[in-house]
């Protein structure tokens, strides 16, 4: 019997022409002073596995149209996923009604006119065409060796492919296609005393080696068995790239220039103003967003149609700029900048092994978990190590240690740098979604603040 023709349509999304037709239709119905249309469409597929077999999976398709109507200084936004003519007409009418009812916004900014955008490179066919059968095969390349080794594998594979469009009544039109794929796995020992994690993320699925990730998590699971307790306190740590990504990405959430000017941010200067121009991190640290970085390419426009280009946030430890929305940029007479897109940290030449080898006594961390803000004044967060935490003694990983809770800030951490390795893209979202593109090196840091022990494996 031949296999049935696949019913899956993983690469379904609105093409540039289809998106333009929807945008033109919406703008044709509009009677407001200004109208903006954001269209997002695409498919997403996933396969989960637990206890060495597939547990659930899902494939879905959706397309949404968001309409922002502006009347004078008033505006309203309506979003719908019904794209037929009548529904779009009704959505435009409703957005205009909301705009009429809304209070005037003293900070209202006019829509942008037509812009020039750099070409993007965020699409991969290998991600867009991945089938449930291929996903199951990837899962098997982890679950089968895990079962053979009498270990318990669990994990998640997700891929998405779609397009984003922005158009407005002043002639602006932006369109981009993008894909993302992520695979993460946690392998545990049957006695519950060991757990190891590995994960990979890319725009291009073919860059992710499922079997290699499985082998890495498997090895960590074995090595992490029967961890010993150590005293909480300040330790030298070697952080694998994922652990670095977990913490460094938090900096970008504190980049609001307005909050800094208002005195409610780490980036506020005592006495008023911002820390732009001040050195706040180790001189080896440079932080940028770059839509063209081949490790984490993104769209080259924002939701309001602003072009996205390379932005340097911190250069050699000095704050170069913060995130200015268009209103605040106008108030402060600077060019607008937007946080988001990818987040990339500079690195060094060391390998992870070299960072370990140079450490007399320290802790090697695979990843962090349940990271939540504690004090915005210092960007202080708390969270815990997880799925592979080891003691380093005399340049060697000697044994597994129990997990630890930290209360620490990426600001303090990036001032206590002892060494940096080569940057790579990491799955930095706790939930294992594709998330923001985060590219960071492994690092070695002194005086990392662990405040308590956890019995969790």
């Amino acid at each position: 019997m031949s296999a049935p023709r696949s019913l899956s349509v993983p690469a379904r999304y609105l093409s540039r022409e289809e998106a333009r037709a929807v945008a033109d239709r919406v703008l044709g119905f509009a009677t407001a002073d200004e109208t903006r249309v954001n269209i997002s469409s695409g498919g997403r597929g996933n396969t989960r596995f637990a206890v060495n077999q597939i547990s659930t999976a899902g494939d879905n398709y959706d397309a949404t149209v968001s309409i922002r109507s502006v009347i004078g200084k008033r505006s309203g936004t309506v979003t719908t996923n019904k794209l037929d003519e009548e529904s779009l007409r009704r959505a435009v009418r409703t957005a205009e009604q909301l705009a009429r009812l809304a209070p005037e916004d003293p900070e209202a900014m006019p829509e942008l006119g037509a812009q020039r955008y750099e070409a993007d490179n965020a699409w991969s066919d290998s991600t867009a065409t991945l089938s449930p059968t291929a996903r199951a095969a990837a899962v098997q390349s982890i679950a089968a060796p895990s079962r053979t080794a009498e270990l318990i594998s669990t994990g998640y594979l997700e891929h998405q492919a779609g397009s984003d469009t922005v158009a407005n009544s002043r002639g602006l039109f932006a369109y981009g296609r993008n894909t993302g794929a992520v695979l993460t796995t946690t392998i545990r020992t049957p006695d519950g005393t060991g757990s190891g994690w590995a994960g990979g993320v890319a725009n291009d699925w073919s860059r992710i080696d499922a079997a290699a990730l499985g082998a890495r998590a498997l090895e960590k699971a074995k090595r992490s068995q029967n961890p010993v307790a150590i005293e909480p306190g300040r330790y030298t740590v070697v952080l694998e790239p994922t652990a670095v990504g977990n913490l460094v990405q938090l900096l970008s959430r504190a980049f609001s220039a307005r909050s800094a000017d208002e005195g409610r941010s780490f980036f506020s200067k005592a006495g008023g103003g911002t820390k732009i121009g001040e050195r706040v991190l180790d001189p080896r640290v440079t932080l940028v967003s770059d839509p063209h970085d081949e490790r984490a390419p993104t769209n080259t426009f924002t939701g309001d149609g602003m072009p996205v280009t390379r932005t340097t946030w911190v250069e050699n430890g000095v704050v170069k700029t913060l995130a200015y929305d268009r209103y605040w940029a106008e108030q402060k007479n600077v060019e607008p900048t937007q946080a988001g897109g990818s987040f990339i940290m500079s690195g060094g030449d060391a390998s992870l092994e070299e960072l370990i080898a140079s450490t007399e006594r320290g802790i090697l961390v695979t990843r962090f978990w349940y990271i939540r803000p504690v004090d915005p004044r210092t960007i202080l967060y708390t969270g815990l190590t997880r799925d592979g935490t080891f003691l380093i003694e005399n340049g060697k990983v000697t044994r597994a240690v129990k997990n630890l809770r930290f209360n620490e800030s990426p600001v303090f951490m990036l001032n206590n740098l002892e060494g940096l390795g080569r940057p790579e893209r990491v799955s930095a979202s706790e939930s294992g979604g594709v998330g923001q593109g985060v590219v960071v090196p492994p690092i070695k840091v002194r005086d990392f603040n662990f405040t308590s022990l956890s019995d969790a494996i």
């Binding site: 989960r48 936004t77 719908t80 996923n81 009812l101």
Partner: protein, 544 residues
């Protein structure tokens, strides 16, 4: 895990404004218009929806599914957010779509689409069957479902007196701006953010066992954050409106919140925090208010008693559980003192998890998770109830699901999510003031703040909104930089006082996260004030 309401609102705002790929796939972030007239509303409860649902089930069965269910959902949300004297955004969102789940030889399949047409439901049903076949690869344990009664014509509606989507936008915006003005009238209150969030889901569920169920869910939350900045710009402190919790109600919840009347108190408390004393580290007796304690219950009782976690199914993200294996826990493990009883339910009036039937088509029951301080049960779905049949038989209880199946949207597959998990009141008729009066040296905490817990739910750290020092049975001043660190079993076993029925309140969250892709569940936690002896307090203040 719970992301806070603030996080939730922030992320839904970000999705509304962004055009990134991360937002696209989350149907929770998709959205819903405010239709001008009721007759124009696309409804999931109309006869057409039922017809499409039955068509999907037929297609799944014909393609080889032994079991299938379908959900068609019309969802609407509205989000209004302000800062100081300006409305910063108004977003109305609509999402309409369906998802088909199939069981083929004991393997699940699921597919979903926003094209709600006869051709598409047939295609998607077949797609779900084909995917289930692929998912049989190297199957070890086929899925079986605990029995449940078919519900041929179920109808349920949340107790909303005023549909938020019928209330004038102007009234909502004016109310928020008036509350902001009241807060800014307090000397030292520099910034105020306020918002309202509303949701209505109309859901048609049908399965191949003959159930057809329509339900209407409402959720509402008004909220406010006031920030005070010191005159030298060297410090800032915020107070969030945690005494107003999200509820499964309509616009009446916003009116009952009395935002304008309460805002000056929140503002005043934010200002007071600037001059509060930084806490001395050490061990203190903690007196916890229900507006704070609900979150500790969520993290340290509700999550570890999810049965899928206990069996390792969530190990890759949400984690496993220290309440495991069930064979060594049920009827044996002492979670807390004899007077500690914790209930699971989906029936408390106005609670966020309330429903008539879950997403397995099961009528939820009320059950004791912890009985007289000992683990007595776990949260279950139809797939999971059979895993505990030995325990239920031993207890002479029926082997049935507790009705904990839930999916956040039509685009996501349902799985085990927590019901309302509540700490039941004690027998003594005492409240907050009585517990403080009985405490010699302690700290009272009001409102939920920072929170973090490990993947097995042992080690947790919680902050709060307001902290007060207790000496000799009296509150003697405000503290700041306070967080407590606990090991879960010790924390509950250190509980020595429990408020009575009159001090019971419902807290809760919209952003209870679990699963991959991460799904958001909404859940309430009822509780009374409690006291816990000699808990470890750390100081979170550092200087940059």
């Amino acid at each position: 895990m719970a992301s806070s309401r603030r996080d939730f609102l922030r992320s839904s705002t970000a999705l509304a404004l962004g055009a990134g790929i991360a937002g696209r796939a989350s149907a929770q972030g998709l959205s819903v218009p405010h239709w001008p007239s009721a007759s124009a509303v696309p409804s999931a409860v109309d006869p057409h929806a039922k017809e499409l649902a039955l068509r999907a089930l037929d297609a799944a069965r014909s393609a080889g599914a032994q079991y299938a269910d379908v959900r068609i959902t019309a969802g609407r949300t509205q989000n209004i957010f302000t800062r100081e004297r300006r409305v910063a955004g108004i977003n109305d969102r609509e999402t309409f779509g369906f998802g088909v789940r199939t069981l083929v030889d004991g393997a699940w399949g699921f597919a979903a689409s926003s094209d709600v047409t006869a051709e598409e439901v047939t295609r998607v049903a077949r797609q779900a069957v084909e995917q289930a076949r692929a998912n049989r690869a190297a199957q070890l344990r086929p899925v079986t479902l605990a029995p449940t009664e078919p519900v041929p014509n179920g109808v349920w509606r949340a107790p909303a007196r005023i549909d938020p989507f019928d209330v004038d936008l102007q009234d909502k915006a004016e109310l928020l701006l008036a509350a902001n003005e009241a807060a800014l009238g307090v000397k030292g209150a520099r910034f105020v953010n306020s918002s309202m969030f509303f949701l209505r889901d109309e859901k048609t569920y049908a399965n191949t066992e003959g159930s057809v169920i329509t339900q209407t869910i409402y959720r509402a939350q008004p909220s406010m954050t006031v920030t005070a900045v010191s005159s030298d710009m060297a410090d800032f402190q915020s107070r969030q409106s945690t005494d107003i919790q999200p509820m499964g109600r309509g616009y009446e919840h916003v009116l009952d919140a009395k935002l304008v009347e309460t805002a000056p108190r929140w503002a005043d408390e934010a200002v007071q925090k600037l001059s509060a004393k930084s806490v001395d580290v050490g061990r203190y007796d903690l007196v916890l208010h229900p507006t704070h304690l609900w979150l500790t219950i969520h993290e340290a009782i509700a999550h570890p008693t999810e049965l899928d976690r206990a069996y390792g199914y969530e190990a890759n993200y949400a984690g496993t559980s220290f309440v495991s294996p069930p064979e060594e826990m049920l009827g044996k493990f002492r979670y807390g003192p004899e007077f500690m009883n914790v209930q699971g339910d989906r029936s408390q009036e106005g609670s966020l998890a309330a429903c008539g039937w879950d997403d397995d088509g099961v009528k939820p029951d009320t059950f004791l998770i912890i009985k007289n301080g000992v683990v007595n049960d776990y949260q279950t779905t139809r797939e999971q109830a059979l895993w505990l049949d030995w325990w239920y038989k031993q207890q002479n209880r029926p082997v049935r699901s507790h009705g904990c199946s839930y999916a956040q949207s039509w685009a996501d597959v349902q799985f085990q999510r927590m019901p309302n998990v509540s700490l039941l009141p004690g027998e003594q008729d005492i409240g907050w003031d009585d517990i403080i009066a009985a405490t010699d040296r302690g700290i009272a905490i009001i409102g939920d703040g920072s929170f973090s817990i490990d993947q097995q739910r042992y080690n947790a750290q919680f902050g709060g909104q307001l902290f007060y020092e207790i000496k000799g049975g009296k509150i003697v001043g405000m503290l700041k930089d306070v967080a407590y660190q606990i090991r879960t079993p010790e924390f509950w076993n250190a509980m020595d006082m429990l408020g009575g029925e009159k001090s019971y309140e419902l807290g809760g969250a919209f952003g209870d996260g679990k699963g991959q892709p991460a799904q958001s569940n909404s859940v309430s936690h009822g509780c009374v004030p409690t006291r816990h002896r000699q808990i470890n307090i750390i100081n979170t203040g550092r200087t940059a």
